[in-house]
Symmetry: D5
Subunit: 162 residues, 10 copies
């Protein structure tokens, strides 16, 4: 059994039962929907209690339940650049705005990155008379580039001087 | 003159003058910093009054100022997957989370996309005792996939039924 | 079951029954043929009533019918550049004419795009003594690039000034 | 001198003079704007009289004028998939709709292609209270796949039988 | 059933029966061997009478026979650059000689292409004491690039003037 | 000086002088036009006498003339898949017909290839009332795959047995 | 001025002066050699005092010195897979051992990554009678994948449970 | 049976039994865990005694056990650039630091490479109050580039002079 | 049945029987081991007598035996650049030394190539106290580039003049 | 100055002087021609005495001479797959024969590689009445894959057992 087989099975059951993601997330609980749905699509692990609940909900056997508790090979089967228009638009945001994000984050925080690991994200519907909007709020820990091995008159670790 | 020549010139002047992006944005005004910096890096156009201010600030000639008012070939010179770690982390977010975003947006809004054109974005510093965070708030208009040519017993235009 | 399995099944049935696309579209109705055929080839969703009709026509079970009502991962399995000559010619049109389309649309409409989501398309046969022609009429909503965060003396939202 | 040098020169002059594409097309005449702008961007040749007019308008020397009358290496410098959002949307239309176009054209016309060479295209602004639309009308000659070498009881040349 | 499954089946039968392509082409008839073999390898369609003969020869069922009469997704499964030495040599001819062919065809015929659709090809063995040669004779209709929308003092349609 | 600089120079002179390829080939002589034009475009070497004639015709210095007598890095600067429609059509012929060519050549000649090195090619205009055709006649020496090291009861060298 | 121009200049001076990297690192100080050399090759920023020392050492002007204090577009100009054998061997280590590293790190630390940002590295020569060895010691902070949005009976933040 | 089938089987058994890699490595023994886990994931061979132990542990048949003793096609199924964040960070280290590693190794050792074949690697957990660290110690034999064929006044074989 | 299925079957049998390649080559005979092993791995054809022997040895049916006598689609399933270190080293030799090989062969032989078709290769173990060496001796027929169509004062066919 | 500038300069001088590679190698000496020519084409370093001789021969300044003594970024500017037919044939040998080489080397030597670093190569002309042959003799040190960390009953270091 490979992870995409399990994903296919979960989607088959969801389809047959007529469940929504909201219903499934409510049954499993514990994480934000983005993480839970991502886990069921094979991009994250569930905790043991969550995997147990998912296993019960979907009627999985022991090995399938264990697989939901494993860290998957993330990004497997992703096609880049994305061919799906919904996902491509996010890709395009990176393509077009990447250099500006880099310039502004570095000016504000110094040399480093916004973590994609210590990272949170909420998705909301923003009612708007001109057409509702998708609102996404993300926050990632800023990780300063560490300059080790420093000696003498410059700070050795995680300095912020420019 | 091609756009990247102008970008190189603007960065040379910024470097020689010791200006920050914040200072430059304050001088030009009118847009959020993400858009203004993006425009100066060759990814967006400035309005005529903005281009005039930028031209004055950087000491540009008439043609250079006009070029800032042109829509550039967006994404030119971008490398994908990004090699720079700061930009790559955003790419990775799309790679890993794309399918979950698709599933949740479609369940909430129906078939369609979050526009990357009618799109707004704010970047903030979020103080955190465990390490400050980069907070990004984005909102894009939801654009429902239009099914034209409908006849008979299903709605013809921009229906939301599932 | 993945979407391409379902597509393969639908094509097998169409082949065995000897149906034309025209016949199938007439049975399902509601959309233009380009959309209906695209949906059956796994690129769009059908509405619930359409999926029900398709299910009845092709003798599908409940889960297969439900899958036709899901938004697929669009563009999956597409090969780019297209190897099929018929599809490649369209690709070539973009390759060769893209920059001119960009220049003319931006001069006429300002900064923005022609939507590929709020988009309609008709295909007709144009009799011509030198050889019939394929006539394609497309119209997509122009989406102006929004410049948010505007302050002071330039318009803040969806301006059209150049 | 290579073609992109000439294109860069033409755009520099256009920028300095403050000309629109419409003005330039009116001065040169003879083709639709899509073709004329494409030719000036290095994707098509101009006829000799057109090249002469362009040469006069832009103040070109003899060799530059001659180059405008040469068939360029079409598609040179194009980036695929396109990074610019405006051009990408057209690419996406091919990506998502290509198989449906193929199915419908072949059902209507038989085996063959829509020519991208014997091809015409108009672009118009379609006023719409919900937002103006870009209307594109294309027509390409249908070229039936020729099956040569036929003998006996099937037609030898350009048959339409299925 | 997808086309490559059918191709695999046909090759299995050919192998078990010990048939040559020549024998198979003689049984089906109607096209040149290049077209017939290409069709059986999944790159072209057969006419209905040809498909019927092929179906009888190979003992196919109705749906398999119908598939041979469908236009396949040409080029599917092709690997480019070709890894097989025999096919690569043709690719190399295009790689090395493409620009010269372009220059000479355009000087002789004007702006346009040699059609790969209205195209014929013969393959012969040319005895030669230094080693026999493969002789290939191709002829494709020249398709002039059409410049539509012409007005005033240049010809409007399919002109040949330079 | 690199080869593409020399090619650019030759094309500049050709353009300024208003020469045709036919005129240039007549002046240099000795090879078929496909080879001569290919050599001037940087894909082949000229013999010393030919290079001397070309040097005189174009007014080249000693080093430039010597470069024309060098074997260039063939295929340099070629873009594959070709973006230019004229060259792409040849590429498409390989893409679509490659497997059939392989099957037929191997059935006729045994295991081996058609040489792209010991190779000749003529291009002609074929008048045709339905539109003139480009006729291309190629012949390449068949090179049998050599199976060395053979011992015992199978032929050791260049056998033709199947 | 772009960063690779500055790198080229620094290498020209190093070559003309006959300096070693060791000498240069001793003059600038403050970081480990891997970081300092990386910075001079355009992959990291130097601190202001370091940039000042480097500017004095290499005789740079104010803008060049400022550029050394900027965060560069990391990875620019890198070729992947690396063509240089020395760099390729590191790439191969990732290619071959990546899955085992993932399995072992995740078993020991849980879901997360080894940071490439909060990262230190030493390189030493390890004398060995069979041939000296390159010893590399790296340590990167383990960053646990954060699961935000947790509710109810599973830990909300940075949990370690499996 | 292909190697990835065997890997899938081993992981299924590990999952069903609830074994850790540590337990499995202890049972098989003889290599460092990085090598053992790599071998079970299809990247290395086990020795015959190790394969026998693994066969017993996992209940494999003779052919499966023999396959564990074969050198696999290393790197098969690896995706590069890696999509999984944990593996990508190692790739990024090569991307960003490759040129500096090359410069320093060559300055210290002369022309050559660090072997990825005669190579050892340990992975440890480094407790750190700011967050534990992954410590990796690698050592690879330095392989000097051999310059054969030397004659006269320079050393002929494996010289170290610069 | 496709060729890789047959290869998988042959390897399964070899593994179960515990045969070496040497043993298998001795049973089949007639070619050098490089060719025989290549043929069994799906890269070459065997002669009929060889295929018969192989069929008997491996217990193949008639169709499988016939497939061994067919010219396969060479290079199918090869991954380039090779991920396996053993194969990659050969690729690297071409990458690094290709231009020098070209320069030296052309200086010695004139314009042409070393055939990869009329090609022989031996592999030996070269005992060496510093570590045994792999010795490879290859010889390929030099194929002069033919310049056809020559007229007048240069030789017309296969000339060697420079 | 970057390495390709120096290569271009060396080739310009060679061309102007009319030197052969043989003449140049004789003047510099010390390495086999493959290595010397490779070094002058920017793929290897020369020793200091060799660089001095080359500098004198070509009239280089101090920095250019120093650059010849540096290890270049090998493989820079190489195009893979090679477009030049002479180099491509070597690439094809790897593509087609790679798996057989792997099988035979591993059976003879065990797990490991043939070094591309401790590697020697000779090129000779082999007279043959059917056409002279290019003979290439290569020998590379076999590097056994080292399995470190071994414990207990299997050898710890560089074992040869299978």
């Amino acid at each position: 059994m490979i992870r995409s087989d399990l994903t296919e099975k979960l989607l088959d059951i969801k389809r047959e039962k007529g469940w929504t993601w909201k219903y499934i997330c409510d049954q499993i609980g514990g994480f934000s929907p983005v993480l839970l749905v991502g886990a069921l699509l094979g991009q994250h692990k569930l905790t043991k209690p969550q995997a147990a609940k998912a296993g019960e909900l979907f009627g999985l056997d022991k090995a399938e339940t264990a697989m939901l508790n494993e860290v998957p090979m993330r990004g497997a089967d992703a096609v880049m650049p994305p061919t799906d228009p919904l996902i491509y638009r996010f890709y395009e945001l990176v393509l077009v705005n990447g250099p500006a994000w880099k310039a502004l984050i570095e000016e504000e925080f110094g040399d480093g990155i916004m973590s994609a690991i210590d990272f949170d994200m909420q998705m909301e519907r923003l009612p708007d008379p001109k057409g509702d909007r998708v609102k996404i709020t993300m926050s990632g820990k800023f990780l300063p580039f560490k300059y080790y091995g420093a000696t003498g008159n410059v700070p050795a670790y995680g300095y912020k001087e420019e």
